[in-house]
Amino acid sequence: MKSLLQRITFTILASVCSASIYAAEIVDLSQYKAEKVIYIDFWASWCGPCRQSFPWLNKMHAQYSEKGLKIIAVNVDADREDADQFLLEHPANFDVVYDPEGTLAEKFNIQGMPSAVLISRSGEVLSQHIGFNQNRAKHYEEAIQQLLVKEKDDE
């Protein structure tokens, strides 16, 4: 019986884009087990609020990556070019993976765009939220902080 983290790992592999021109690298989420709180963000080039969420994600990455936050942005664009164009306009300092078939989005049962999934250090999906609102940014940040602090205390 595989742990959730291992399941997620394999799922990310399964959602890979078809082009083999990209450098081969395995995304193994189990490397983060017991170490990192994972924030998975589902985004697309055509998603308006994603333009606002990216700067905020960069900010979170800058502030909390050393404290144990790992941000993984999953792109669901059907065309890789659209995602690349978006990243040119809104650069990301965090990791970006590609899910053009939507396999990963399906696995997480995404209900709307953009969607964020917060995963604890022990591999549990703790919360999911739909949408990104500048007014709610503080609220999202607090959720991350709480998780980082709590998990640290647990150790």
Partner: protein, 417 residues
């Protein structure tokens, strides 16, 4: 490399084709490309051959107040002039009419469409609209508008509610609007069932209209979306066009005896069904709609509207457009009234005693109308939009009075910042 669903997750560990992208240099500057403001402006020129021409201009500004709350305002200014059909029928005889003010006359040659050359009007309107989310899946919109022209003023309010279902694949919408109009010509309204020769005019009147609209917007598939609306409208009050007359023609000589000011019912109930589809191909898009309307005046109409958007490039498009419209005449529409041996005054009295409605306004008669046009649009510098369209609009009906040819030309500019 293809991955099919049968591949087990364990097999996939051997397949290393996932790409991880990381940006080398961290981004320091904050990216605040939020489009708060939206400004749209357009100017339209409308010209009917030998009849009415108009210039209309509009400016619309909207601001995102945060939290997807959007406030928008719009100002429209129209200027109309030219000749307009006064309701009388074409005659083999020369006809002389009194202008609405009663101070001037104009003469129409035999066989010509009776057009009043003194038509002139300016209209200004202003509207304010607010849109705000109530919950993540529910949106409320409300607003008010005021419009004023030489002899007609209108004040209206509207509100609508929209709710998403099925992961936003289905949206149910319901809206209403209420308008209060005042008809107040400078020289007053013609007395009911009076004749043009009487020239008795006084007073003003009002009309109230309520409109209800209910709709479903449904995503069909990845590149197709449809909307279905049912509309109900009810208006009560003064519906007459205070300037329109109906010819009373002699049975014996076919000469016009006098002209009766039209009279329409004081209430009108309309039902409409509307269906619109938008379908996107690889590059281009087609948008077509059908509207069916019926009312208790006996007017039934069908409208078919089609746009084909030819996306020449990411920033350029050409959109041909065609519209077919057909309507059946109102029950009380008459091209002219036969006197049946009576004098004009007697005919007027008869109509008054019967409380009979009559209009010769060709816009309530049998009519077919076709519009054909093309629109060009371009996006410049990312956030600027330039559009231009030219259309030909043609109407025809039971007689030459309904033959109208118009050209429509519009230029528009929009900006987001």
């Amino acid at each position: 490399m293809q991955l099919d669903k049968k591949t087990t997750v364990y097999d996939l560990i051997a397949l290393a084709s996932c790409s991880l992208l990381g940006v080398s240099a961290p981004v320091l500057a904050a990216d605040t490309s939020i489009d708060d403001w939206k400004v749209d402006t357009a100017i339209l020129y409308y010209n009917e051959t030998d009849r009415v021409s108009a210039v209309e201009s509009a400016v619309s500004i909207s601001k995102n107040l945060g939290g997807d709350k959007i406030l928008s305002g719009k100002i429209t200014m129209d200027s109309l002039s030219g000749s307009s059909h006064n309701g009388a029928a074409i005659s083999d005889y020369e006809q002389t009419f009194t202008s609405p003010s009663g101070e001037e006359t104009y003469t129409i040659a035999p066989g010509d469409v009776p057009l009043d050359p003194n038509f002139e009007d300016d209209r200004n309107s202003f509207s304010l609209q607010m849109s705000q989310p109530l919950t993540r899946v529910m949106n409320l919109e409300y607003g008010a508008a005021y419009s004023s022209e030489y002899d007609y003023k209108s004040l209206s309010v509207n509100a609508s509610l929209m709710r998403d279902f099925n992961q936003r694949n289905t949206t149910l919408s319901a809206g209403f609007s209420y308008a209060q109009d005042e008809i107040n010509p400078r020289d007053g309204l013609p007395v009911l069932y009076s004749l043009m020769s009487d020239n008795t005019k006084s007073g003003s009147d009002t009309k109230n209209t309520i409109d209800l609209l209910m709709g479903v917007t449904q995503v069909i598939n990845r590149n197709t979306i449809m909307q279905f609306n049912y509309g109900f409208g009810n208006s009560t009050g003064y519906h007459n066009d205070p300037y329109k007359i109906v010819s009373i023609v002699s049975d014996a000589t076919n000469a016009p005896l006098d002209y009766l000011f039209e009279n329409r019912p004081d209430s009108r109930t309309k039902h409409s069904l509307y269906w619109q589809t938008k379908h996107h191909f690889d590059q281009d898009m087609v948008d077509f709609s059908l509207r069916l309307m019926a009312d208790d005046w006996g007017v039934n109409s069908q409208t078919l509207d089609m746009h084909y958007r030819w996306n020449i490039s990411d920033n350029n498009y050409l959109e041909p457009h065609v519209r077919y419209y057909t309507q059946s005449a109102a029950d009380f529409y008459e091209e002219k009234i036969s006197n049946a041996g009576l004098t004009a005054e007697q005919v007027a009295t008869q109509y008054q005693n019967e409380g009979r409605d009559v209009t010769a306004d060709y816009r309530l008669g049998n009519m077919d109308a076709t519009t054909i046009g093309v629109k060009w649009g371009a996006r410049l510098f990312g956030t600027h939009q330039l559009t231009s369209r030219i259309e030909l609009y043609q109407q025809s009906g039971d007689s030459k009075v309904s033959d109208v040819d118009a050209i429509i030309f519009q230029v528009g500019y929009g900006l987001k910042f």
